[in-house]
Amino acid sequence: SGGENENGWPEKIRYGVLPGEEDSELSRAHELFVKDMSEELGIEVELFQGEDYNAVIEAMRSKKLELASFGPFSYIIAQERSNAVPIAVRAISEEDATYNSWIVVPDESDVQSLEELEGKSILFADPASTSGHLFPRGIFIEELGITNDEVESYFSSVSFSGSHDNSILAIAAGDADAAGVCSTCVERAVKGGLVSESDFRIIAESDPIPSSPISYRGDLPEDLVEAIKEFIYNYDNEEFFEQAGDKDSRYIPVDESNYEIIRKTAESLNMSPEELLSQ
């Protein structure tokens, strides 16, 4: 399977798709994308969809995967661990290519500002979530002027719910005093009828977070990378974009520099890839 053909290209391109946390849903659209790409490049493209980014990062690292779409935080880890290079994000415009983290509280809560959360319980999504842990934590550090290590003692309890859905459900039920969640996830949960807008209030919002990039493995032949980029930047199959969430969206070029903010946030939380992977 790791074989190459005459021009040094791999026999096939394997593309691993992780749903970004800002994505509306796990979409079937990628099958179409993969088909079009295969026709365009004249090379077999195989699609793998899952939810576990460890699997995708490890597969790319052991050269079992050529292309992958990561979440923002998993991308910076993949860059370090699997030599991933970002190509593009799907968005309507450059401004739209971001989303936010919110700090939400139950609607009936008295809390109006971040300061009032001292001694209360706080819920994050999961430890590796960009908008459900890294950025909300970043907000506390920045806005409250505490250090990363002080976060645990500032609140009465800091726990992880496992997902944005669980977090917002807990807020709606009043099981926690506050939670850090991603804006798009909450909007989606409201649309899906899981919670209602009147169940919670937003008391803080983070800086824009760059969306999930499609990336390639850094050691691919240059001409192949060019061909892939060419295809992705010009891709305009409306059927695909409609299924993927918005028919007006397209793939917009990104590069490493777009993710500097993630790297910086991670560093301030002692969660930089270097630190995590150095054990």
Binding site: S1, R14, G16, P19, E25, L26, R28, F48, Q49, G50, E51, D52, N54, A55, V56, E58, A59, R61, S62, K64, L65, R188, A189, G192, G193, L194
Partner: protein, 273 residues
């Protein structure tokens, strides 16, 4: 050696005037139960469960199950092939595990193992296989063979191996040693004893364990979808993430039907064998 037809005198034998000692009530069993009860309360205390939530939650739980009704079958074109893929992962994983454990189990059974050391080593190996969660196995095999159903097959095979070695060995150990001894006494060697004596004796047990494991593996393979192994697990997550509970219910039903039909099959087979 009385050969006469006299009625044997009653009360003569064994009833010496010794008094039967009433055994202390089974202290061990009582102790275990008392300890179990105390430990149970301790666990409850430690877990600090919110009981007030329990009733309301149960109502929610039932409403939620109600809301999932009726199942939404419109996605069957995606769901059924995904289900078949999961089934294939489970079948192949189980078959591989059965083949390998059929060799190792005989080394792990104390009445057949060349010596106790070998038996303990194989059993220890089996426990390790079982303790490492399937998800970790999947990760290990993804590193080796990439994404797709294949790492799922291998993860399931290795994890099942851990259980099958243990239960197969147990079935063999429960076997009447006399039967093994009888073949040994006729000069049969180790392999002959296993093939002609042990396997025919324990075949029903092996079969029902295998089928039970297949049921478990179908369940496991549905979870493995999440790590990029494809299959019905991904479909289920998709439905749950789009809050499409009716579709999720349909998928859960498909999973149920798959496992239940294996269970039915096993009941049929048990009658036959």
């Amino acid at each position: 050696m009385s050969r006469d037809g006299n009625v044997y005198p009653l009360n003569a034998q064994e009833s010496d005037n010794e008094i039967a000692i009433k055994p202390k009530k089974d202290l061990f069993t009582r102790g275990v139960f008392a300890f179990g009860a105390v430990f149970f309360l301790f666990c409850l205390y430690q877990l600090n469960i919110d009981y007030s939530n329990l009733l309301a939650g149960t109502v929610d739980f039932i409403t939620m199950l109600g809301e999932m009704f009726p199942p939404d079958v419109s996605e069957w074109k995606y769901v059924i092939p995904a289900a078949i893929e999961s089934l294939q992962v489970a079948i192949l994983g189980t078959v591989i595990a059965v083949v390998i454990s059929l060799v190792l189990a005989f080394l792990a059974a104390e009445n057949l193992a060349p010596n106790n050391l070998v038996a303990s080593i194989v059993k220890g190996f089996a426990t390790l296989m079982r303790v490492i969660p399937t998800i970790i196995w999947a990760l290990i095999f993804i590193v080796a063979v990439g994404l797709g159903p294949l790492p799922g097959v291998l993860a399931i095979a290795v994890h099942s191996l851990g259980m099958l070695i243990k239960v197969f060995a147990q079935s063999v150990e429960e076997m009447d040693d006399g039967k093994i001894e009888a073949l040994r006494a006729s000069g049969a060697n180790w392999i002959q004893i296993i093939a002609q004596g042990v396997i025919p004796t324990v075949v029903t047990a092996l079969l029902s364990w295998t089928i039970l494991r297949l049921e478990i593996d179908i369940g496991e393979s549905t979870i493995l979808g999440l790590v990029g192994a494809g299959g019905i697990g991904w479909e289920l997550t998709r439905a749950m993430r789009s809050y499409d509970f009716n579709a999720a219910f349909f998928i859960a039903m498909v999973i149920f039907v798959m496992i239940f039909s294996v269970e039915m099959l096993s009941n049929r087979l048990k009658l036959k064998v």
